[in-house]
Amino acid sequence: MSAGMLVFRLGDLSVRMRWKALLANTGLAALLLVLAGWALTVGSRAIDVQSVVRWMVFHDLGATDALILGDFRAPRICLAMLAGAMLALAGAVTQYQTRNGLADPSLLGVREGASLFIVALLLVSPAMPLALRPVVGLAGGLAAGLAVALVSRGASPLKFVMTGFGISWCLSSMLVILLASADLTSLQSALLWLAGSLQAADWQSVRIAAVILVFAGSVIFWLARHTELDDMGEAVATVLGTARSGPRRSTLMCAVLLVAGSVSVVGGLGFVGLIAPHIARFLPRQSLRGQLVASMMIGALLVLAADTLGRTIFAPVTLPAGISLAAIGAPLLVLLLWLRRDRTEDLR
């Protein structure tokens, strides 16, 4: 029965893992660490590996290099990984829950809703504290998510996704109008943030993102046991003892919170939430919790790679992460869907 499984038991507790999946996830984590280390060394001023290690372990390095590493690169790398993990987690859990490979909250209007609210606030009061952004973003994201849910109430998953597309177009038009009617001075900061830039990363935004990820992530993982049953249909899931709507709503709410949170700290990063779960499906089969962990790490890898490439390829010009991500992500997504074209129900 437990072929390919590792089971650890201690009294009443037991943990079960597939060793292949465990191996794959460990590999991903190692890859992420290596990439993060490499990202620390590259940039407008190259810092070699020994110096980075010295800085991390002994905290003794020339003031300039320490400043570059500690105040610019490290927070930027952390933020990239956090944002990627947030978006990927939100996408993975929503895709699983709706049984639809195209259901990514950041594609279905949540991102635009959050952006709209935050830009509106930025234009009204540019001096707004950073910590307020996730709150406003969450309100906007939830409003957009609710609008999608209400309009497509009781409709097929296909209609749900298409309604999401429509609402996100509508919201982005509103955003353009809002921007066009704004003053030029406040426009600058709004535009910079909208393009999905990690340029302004600092430890405060890292802290905000981390808090949101830890909170929403814990809820999602706590409920993952219930969410996992969603692929057997509502009747079976209910009979097996998941509450009818409580876990479902909390999970979706947390997915919206994750997207809104990432939008509020780094702006619009597309495609992560769609691609990361699809890539995770190429890994050895694993439980939903394993899939979520793998998706998060893949999302972190994607955003970190895109941002690092964006700031090094055309140096000294820096491409916003949102743009390099879309340039990498869109063809990747198309490739993934092409490879899985007969496998999924995504594109019915």
Partner: protein, 337 residues
């Protein structure tokens, strides 16, 4: 002509008159609209007593007329392109913006502006834009042709969105790296009609005419296609060639529209949706109706964009999106299973 088409003809005549009237009224209103109050006497003077010294005449002739002409042409193109896409793919949600034609055309224009490998004449811009539209849309079609459900609406639309996003990312990257191009194209990219020159209109005119005439010629074959591929084959229509021609014309039309006033969405979706039961009955009269409605819609949107927050101008593309996206949702809820 079959009896069905004959019966529809009368209704079409009334609708056509209505649409034409609307376009005329909007045209007139738009000419009068603007920061400068132009007295009505200027208009007869323009015809009978033209004087280069009159500033009023200059405003009408060189600022307002080109803009309105460009809007009418682009609207007509977008309406016709949307109708072609919808009938050729039998998908009511087809539209140049949604399916990626606009993004392809923009990318082509931006690439040509940023990397002028060979000095291209202005007249080549609409062709280049059409080529870009055709290439990107071709990629969308190639991708959605695989797998079990070939060309299902959600598939085509999804790949349209994905490839549009990629093209837009490339556009943004080019613009960030190349500030000159950004300066030239910033407003154009949001769909903006102010500042269109007569030379651009003249450059776009050939592609517009070719596209519209081609669309009219392919309409009867598309009517056969609307019965389903197998029946159409039975009636002797070459399904593949008809589709290809229709899609080529759609690319030409949306390329011209993009080269004129930038990527503008949803006009091609809304124009056919205005008239009930038009989508499955392609005919020349229907094409004309859709073309006129597209022109009227874009005129209205442009007029609003210029007027709502005057003297500040809103991008026309954003306004059409604001109105068009709900129409898209409405169509989704009505037509999809």
């Amino acid at each position: 002509m079959t009896p069905v088409q004959g019966a529809g003809g009368g209704a079409h005549k009334a609708s056509l008159t209505l649409a034409l009237g609307f376009v005329a009224v909007l045209f007139g209103l738009h000419v009068l609209q603007g920061p400068r109050n132009v007295p009505l006497e200027t208009f007869p003077a323009l015809l009978f007593d033209r004087s280069p010294a009159s500033f009023d005449q200059f405003v009408i002739l060189h600022l307002r007329l080109p803009r309105i002409l460009a809007v009418v042409m682009a609207g007509a193109c977008l309406g016709a392109a949307g109708f072609l896409l919808q009938t050729a793919m039998r998908n009511r949600l087809g539209e140049p913006h949604i399916l990626g034609l606009n993004a392809g055309a923009s990318l082509a224009v931006v690439v040509l502006t940023a990397f002028p490998l060979i000095p291209l004449p202005v007249a080549a811009k609409p062709f280049a834009a059409s080529l870009g539209a055709f290439l990107l849309f071709g990629a969308v079609l190639a991708l959605s042709a695989g797998g079990r459900d070939r060309f299902s609406p959600v598939r085509v639309i999804f790949f349209g969105i994905a490839l549009s996003a990629m093209a837009n990312a490339l556009v943004s990257a080019i613009l960030i790296l190349d500030e000159d191009t950004l300066e030239q194209l910033r407003f154009w990219l949001l769909g903006d009609s102010a500042g269109v020159q007569m030379s651009a209109i003249a450059a776009a005119a050939p592609t517009v005419v070719i596209g519209l005439v081609g669309a009219a010629l392919v309409m009867p074959r598309l009517a056969a296609l609307s019965l389903g591929d197998n029946l159409a084959r039975g009636l002797g229509a070459s399904v593949k060639r008809t589709r290809l021609i229709a899609l080529l014309m759609a690319a030409l039309l949306s390329g011209s529209a993009v080269s004129l006033i930038g990527p503008i969405g949803f006009v091609g979706l809304v124009a056919p949706a205005l008239w009930p039961r038009l989508h499955n009955k392609p005919s020349v009269a229907a094409l004309l109706l859709v073309t006129l409605s597209g022109a009227g819609l874009l005129l209205a949107a442009d007029s609003l964009a210029a007027g709502i927050l005057a003297p500040r101008e809103l991008p026309t593309g954003a306004l059409t999106g604001l109105v068009g996206a709900p129409v898209f949702i409405w169509l989704v809820l009505r037509t999809l299973r």
